[in-house]
């Protein structure tokens, strides 16, 4: 009776509820109509190439760029049948300025070049990828003989030493693979003395997973999925979130006159943490008889960049010394892509992403520096 009385109450129909529901219905209609644009804008924000432009039919790298690597995991060539190179790093590995249909990215050029020698290459890259995420990819490929590479080729980017954490897509990936999770826990338990900060960080990722793990979560996901079928805003909440974050980013840039090249000093604590993760990568690679090859990524020689020059110089020296101490193949490819091959997104020279020619030149430089390593047969394991 109470509920009927409330429904018949005039205040309900004259209050804010009907208009609020109408506004939400309109917002849903708007989102339903703009669904495709929203998804495309999210992809554009992640610098993912449009399907029409991507080369070839079979994925030769993780097309989700870290959002859902499990979807492309089966596409990793069989490392038991041939030498396998995993190419990993940040957005430079897969983004192309002024792309044309059929353009290839670094890993595809490498794969083309290695295939005649009986080797294959596959890309596992993600925007702003940090060393904790690179370690996750290294470990994920290493623990399965099918995906275990002979070489893990990692393009090290100075700027990414300011980031840490596993993105939601990779956290989900860790959650979905019990073997990987066990290996992750094993690494952080066995090396806590040598890499205390990195191992504590890895432990916190596992704790985060344990907090979310329950049947209740499964039920919640099912409820969301069902609601998403009827309510477009719920179905597209992740894309709307990405758009909102992007608009906030633009607002920040406008309000504080920040550009992508505004000088940003390194964050000491995060920098140290990333260095520890690189050390862990070297250990894990050695343990699984994988060659970890490191290179300093190309940088536009004529564009401004956000690096504080003495910090960047110190980083390069440290990385070279680190590779030398650990006996890792190393190359500095900073200058391999000339100014004309970088592109001008938003009318400004891009300091980090190049045109297709840049991918070709980088792949050629990688072959020149690491050629013998990349096509070597895997040792008996």
């Amino acid at each position: 009776m109470e509920l009927v009385r409330i429904l018949l109450d005039r205040r309900l129909w004259r209050g804010p509820a009907p208009l609020c529901l109408l506004l939400l219905a309109l917002a849903n209609v708007f989102v339903a109509r703009a669904e495709r644009e929203l998804q495309e804008e999210t992809q554009a924000n992640l610098l993912i190439l449009k399907p029409a432009i991507r080369a070839g039919g079979t994925p030769r790298y993780d097309w989700s760029v870290g959002e859902d690597p499990a979807r492309y995991w089966e596409n990793i060539p069989d490392g038991r049948a041939q030498p396998l190179v995993i190419v990993s790093g940040m957005s430079q590995m897969y983004a192309i300025n002024d792309p044309e249909p059929g353009d290839e990215i670094i890993v595809e050029h490498l794969d083309d070049a290695l295939a005649p020698q009986g080797a294959r290459a596959f890309g596992l890259a993600a925007p702003n990828m940090d060393n904790e995420e690179a370690l996750l990819y290294l470990l994920a490929t290493a623990i399965d003989p099918r995906t275990r590479p002979t070489t893990f080729l990692y393009g090290v980017c100075f700027d990414k030493f300011r980031n840490i954490d596993l993105r939601p897509g990779l956290l989900r990936f860790l959650e979905q693979q019990p073997g990987l999770r066990a290996a992750w826990i094993d690494v952080c338990a066995s090396r806590a003395t040598t890499y205390p900060m990195a191992c504590a960080k890895m432990g916190s990722a596992v704790a985060e997973l344990q907090r979310h793990e329950s049947h209740e979560d499964d039920f919640e996901h099912r409820v969301r999925a069902q609601l998403g079928r009827a309510v477009p805003i719920i179905a597209n909440s992740a894309d709307l979130n990405a758009q909102a974050q992007y608009q906030l980013y633009l607002l920040r840039n406008y309000a504080f006159r920040i550009k992508s090249t505004t000088k940003r000093p390194m964050l000491d604590s995060v920098y140290s943490l990333n260095r520890e993760f690189l050390g862990l990568m070297a250990d894990v690679a050695k343990e699984h008889s994988i060659d970890l090859a490191l290179y300093v990524i190309p940088l536009n020689p004529s564009a401004e960049n956000p690096y504080v020059s003495d910090q960047y110089a110190a980083f390069k020296s440290w990385l070279e010394q680190f590779a030398s101490d650990r006996g890792l193949p190393f190359a500095n490819l900073e200058g391999v892509v000339p100014h004309d091959d970088w592109g001008l997104p938003n009318g400004e020279p891009d300091f980090k992403h190049f045109r297709e020619r840049g991918h070709e030149l980088t792949a050629a430089a990688l072959l020149q520096h690491f050629g013998a390593t990349l096509s070597r047969r895997p040792p008996p394991r």
Partner: protein
């Protein structure tokens, strides 16, 4: 079942529809079943613990009410009530400290403790049980019907993280024929929406930045430390106040009125004022069941009563968890309250008549209060005393200069923007209420403004609350 989940919304809608569709005589039984279902959705085994504790408390309350001289019996009841709490929450803490003590004496014992998972809400339902026994021992009439008592203990909106409801606040509502009208539904819906926004949008957005600063291995600089503290001050407020909003709103949809738990704590101009606005139901519980009996016992020595204040707050800290950082947080607040009563009385009193105090005095009192509260939050959020000391030292010694060493620019900007937003909200709430009051004659305009605001909040919650995260206060 987390409050800020679609599962909970579904549960709530079904609960409300069933409750108001059933005849009155079945409603309480339905609420008991739903409450146990809610609790068991997390870990069904602990439903039996809740049931056992509830039955014991009810029976013991009946026994207490029949005895004239019942002080010893009451003490026994309180000890039994505390048993599960001590076992599940403090055994690890006690054993670790005993081991430490033995090690310092040259022994190296290894006491093994099974890994236990803390039952949700145990701190809350234990305090509720103690309050009931004390009230009955002091002459209040016990709840006669067991089903009423089971509902009082298990009613889901207050079960996990409060508000801590005392028997007299709810017993009549359980026994009465409850009603709900449009005003109740409107107010409840608004509170639930506010709760979702505070938790899902505000608290959860702040969480990763705060977590980065308080990572055990991070070595935050001065800026990170300061931003981390400000961020956590807001995160815990939005988190817990959001939870309380949803609890109060959910109860109101069923026809219950719960006491408020927060009243703009960050406008407080003294530590005492802060505790009158922060987690108010816990403050009242500590005052009535810990401090007042102790102070009464030593009423002829008022100076000792001040020490009881520190002890009561230390227990309040310990209630939050078995860690020395919580105990020190409580002691810190006890010292602040003691200062409020004694040597800083001149600074921190008289604000009940603001006209008598100048703007500067008010600003200084507020600033010092917030500084004290913020320093307390460092202890509260840190895992160890050493970590808290490191963060404070980092700020005091300007570690890292004026550049962050942990947080990126976005984190710093976001926390500052939230702090400014919270400040602005507190400043503008008065004028906003006045403006809405003036619109009473133009109801359609007022309704349109509110509709726009609510729609914006719903959209923000849907877009930003992309994954469910547990409430901070669930661990207490």
């Amino acid at each position: 079942m987390i409050f800020t989940s679609y599962t909970y919304l579904l549960f709530l809608v079904v609960a409300v529809l069933l409750h108001w569709s059933l005849p009155q005589r079945f409603r309480n039984a339905l609420l008991i079943v739903l409450s146990y279902g809610f609790y068991c959705s997390w870990r069904w085994q602990y439903g039996f613990l809740l049931l056992a504790v509830s039955i014991f408390t009810w029976l013991f309350g009946a026994l207490l009410s029949r005895r004239e001289n019942n002080r010893r019996l009451l003490a026994l009841g309180i000890i039994v009530e505390l048993g599960p709490l001590v076992y599940y929450k403090y055994s690890g803490f006690i054993v670790a400290n005993l081991e430490g003590l033995a090690a310092s004496l040259g022994y190296a014992p290894h006491l093994h403790l099974p890994d236990v998972i803390l039952p949700l809400g145990i701190s809350f339902f234990t305090f509720q049980g103690i309050a009931y026994l004390v009230d009955v021992a002091n002459g209040e009439h016990p709840i006669d019907r067991m089903d009423h008592f089971l509902l009082y203990k298990a009613f889901w909106p207050q079960l996990i993280a409060g508000p801590i409801i005392r028997p007299h606040e709810i017993r009549d509502q359980i026994a009465a024929v409850r009603h709900v009208d449009y005003a109740d539904v409107a107010e409840a819906t608004k509170r639930i929406l506010y709760g979702f926004f505070k938790k899902g949008v505000l608290a959860d957005t702040l969480a990763p930045y705060v977590d980065a600063v308080f990572q055990p291995t991070a070595r935050p600089g001065a800026i990170d430390g300061a931003i981390g503290i400000i961020g956590f001050s807001m995160q815990i407020y939005f988190d817990f106040a959001g939870y309380s909003d949803i609890a109060i709103g959910s109860a109101r949809l069923i026809g219950f009125r719960f006491p408020e738990n927060f009243d703009y704590p960050y406008v407080a101009r003294s530590p005492q004022d802060f505790w009158n606005r922060w987690h108010m139901t816990l403050t009242r519980w500590i005052r009535d069941y810990v401090f007042t009996p102790l102070a009464f016992a030593s009423r002829r020595q008022p100076k000792i009563a001040l020490l009881w204040l520190v002890l009561a707050m230390a227990l309040c800290g310990l209630w939050h968890g078995g860690r020395w950082t919580f105990v020190l947080w409580g002691i810190w607040h006890g010292v602040l309250l003691l200062a409020n009563q004694t040597f800083l009385r001149g600074l921190w009193s008289g604000f009940d008549k603001p006209a008598k105090r100048g703007r500067f005095a008010r600003a200084m009192a507020w600033l010092l209060t917030m500084l004290g509260v913020a320093l307390g939050w460092v202890l509260f959020r840190s895992q160890t005393v050493a970590q808290a000391a490191s963060i404070v030292t980092g700020i005091v010694t300007l570690r890292g200069g004026l550049r962050p060493t942990v947080l990126r620019e976005n984190g710093v900007l976001l926390v500052v923007a939230f702090a400014l937003g919270l400040g602005l909200e507190q400043v503008l709430k008065g004028p906003a209420v006045r403006i809405m009051g003036r619109l009473r004659g133009h109801e359609s305009v007022g309704s349109a403004i509110r509709a726009l605001g609510y729609a914006a909040l719903v959209l923000a919650v849907t877009v930003f609350e992309s994954d469910v995260k547990a409430f901070v206060y669930f661990q207490f």
